[in-house]
Point group: C2
Chain length 370, copies 2
DNA sequence: TTGAAAGCGCTAACAA
DNA sequence: TTGTTAGCGCTTTCAA
């Protein structure tokens, strides 16, 4: 490829002069500069990026620790990261797997974790014996969180509460909850739902919580189809989440349990759409028979035939902020330990009013609903 | 972080001994080895990845030159790449932008291009004055292609022909074509359709070709919503493709032109699904009023309420093969200049029989269709 | 204005 | 079995 040394030889000068000429730093006679630049051009010279990194102690690469790219939320996070990184001349790289132990051997200046759980897992593992600037996307699941990793948190509490109020205002009382975890996960979405359920569902509550996980459904062999629920998955590996498919399964369970809920509160849009697809196949109309509320507000909605009622979590913005904070850490600038990302309720067509309110069997605008 | 030099000082030996101990290479007394390993552990020593790369002249990173991650096809390609790369201890990084000129400054050992067009653009630009092992995913659009870049080609000819035969066998004669480019693009999908149309549509052909691009629709201001059709997009930048949205627009145009086609042949699944969504909103049933055939066979189908009739192009496999060939190039092993990826027709619910065949108004299994 | 020298963290050939 | 030396491609200090 050609090195500065080669250029120096051809130009009959020393490498330092070549360096100065190429970098436009320090003194170098106009005549030699021209000659050097000309030779560099002839040789198609490009500085060796690895040597540059060794000198500058910067790779200008940031790792986004993310595996499940079939989830639109992760893609949007990533898009925001790219945008912010690009502005400061950094690149985002993806891990492809979730092997945290390989982190120290990667050519990166910092890492962004996708959620609190992964961050904690890192801190308890390699993070203990290895320092790398890190930032995590967060969702308010943890009450206490180590200060080692700054958080960029989306205001899930607010979003969930708004959605709860909205559903309540439309007359919904019996609301089911669909989630990939157990009820004790600490997730704000679940806690808000638990509060709701305490009033309306009383001791019946647990039947209305459809936790699509092995822990919640120990006897249901169907959850075993999801890799992460199988025995042989190591603790250090975070497999793809299969949210959509879990949403489908949740619909089956919803029908099997003969729930009389008028609405379903979903962990995210993928699950919401999976639920809708399957529940329609099972003969129920959305929102005619059952209202569905999602969480996310990502582009994957475009595939859906109705406007999804959901919460816009601003994934792109969250991704952007993650990078901004991380670059502050890396470059030694001051930064805020917690950053909040604004959220907003998005009213769509998959939730309708019920009960006294009496909007009755209103159908969505385009008349769909199986 | 600690270096081999520090370990050497603490252990009272030279760096070479430390290196040999840590690498398990060459001679080193058992006693010193133990001591060195112990100190390394105490110091939480990790080899500096950049220095390692400088020595080995390998970054063990491969760039996938891809921007539009909202397209499931790219995601599947990427997943295949990750899998293959992982096996040989490489990582795939994404560019995030399509700035080919920045390639020489990236920490990568090779690059994978997403299609022939980008490859050619590279060869005519920086590729002329810079060498980096490269491979391209290909789709048979080019008759001649420079040997500088090996291709991993999916057999689009075969796939398109199969689909054409299938539609024909079901009685479809008037078939429209939906494509993001002009008819002269050389794409096998289009060429197969042109052959079909020559017989059945005769001189009416052009009306049935819905090319959603500025070139094809110079007077339609709606195409301007897509960034890539605007004036100010530089040649070196490949913006996101907006296939889904273009599929929606194609449906509008289909209706405006009052086409009497019984089937639509779509450039890819994104366009097919966009077309379906919009055409239903416009009051037509799929496949009741119009049959829709896609191309891709990616996971994004899961969002769709019916089984899409499409061609499985095996994106995951294609991605895997790209990496395998590229690693052969990088590691100096022998490799094949052209690799073919198998394809298969996938019969779904969005195409039905028409005409004499008389399966009449058969509706899809789940009774959907607006 | 220039170039020799030391160094970034690591490897490897060679002499001791 | 060990340490010295030279070098990967580049930067930067400092003496000339």
């Amino acid at each position: 490829m050609g090195t500065r040394k080669e250029i120096a030889e051809r130009a009959g000068v020393s490498v330092s002069v070549v360096s100065r000429a190429l970098n436009n730093s320090g003194y170098v006679s106009a005549e030699k500069r021209e000659k050097i630049l000309k030779i560099a051009r002839e040789l198609d010279y490009h500085p060796n990026p690895v040597a540059m990194s060794l000198m500058s102690r910067r790779t200008r690469q940031i790792l986004f620790m993310c595996k499940d790219l079939r989830n639109a939320f992760n893609i949007e996070l990533y898009e925001g990261m790219i945008e912010a990184a690009h502005r400061q001349n950094y690149m985002i790289v993806l891990s492809g797997d979730m092997d945290l132990s390989r982190l120290p051997s990667l050519l990166v200046d910092g890492v962004i974790f996708p959620n609190e759980a992964v961050s904690l897992s890192y801190l308890e593992g390699v993070g203990k014996r290895y320092f790398l600037p890190a930032v995590t996307a967060a969702y308010g699941a943890q009450t206490s969180f180590p200060r080692a990793i700054p958080r960029v948190t989306c205001d899930m509490w607010k979003a969930s509460s708004q959605m709860a109020d909205y559903l309540h205002s439309l007359g919904h009382r019996k609301i089911a909850c669909i989630c990939p975890y157990g009820m004790d996960n600490g997730d704000p979405r679940v806690r808000v739902w638990v509060d709701l359920a305490a009033q309306s569902l009383k001791k019946d509550r647990d039947r209305y919580y459809i936790g699509v996980s092995r822990q919640c459904l120990p006897d249901d062999r169907r959850v075993l189809q999801f890799q992460e629920e199988q025995e042989n998955v190591g603790l250090l590996s975070f497999p793809p989440e299969h949210y959509f498919e879990k949403g489908c399964l949740a619909a089956d369970i919803f029908v099997e349990r003969k729930l009389d809920a008028t609405a379903v509160f979903c962990f995210n849009d993928e699950m919401a759409m999976g639920f809708c697809k399957r529940i329609r196949q099972l003969g129920l109309r959305v929102p005619g028979d059952i209202s569905v509320a999602g969480t996310d507000g990502t582009y994957s909605q475009r595939y859906f035939d109705a406007e999804l009622t959901t919460m816009n979590l601003n994934a792109v913005l969250q991704g952007r902020r993650c990078v901004e904070v991380l670059l502050n850490v890396i470059e030694g600038r001051k930064f805020k330990y917690v950053t909040n990302v604004p959220v907003a309720l998005k009213k769509g067509e998959t939730v309708r009013a019920v009960g006294r309110a009496g909007s009755g069997n209103a159908r969505p605008k385009n008349g769909r609903g199986v």
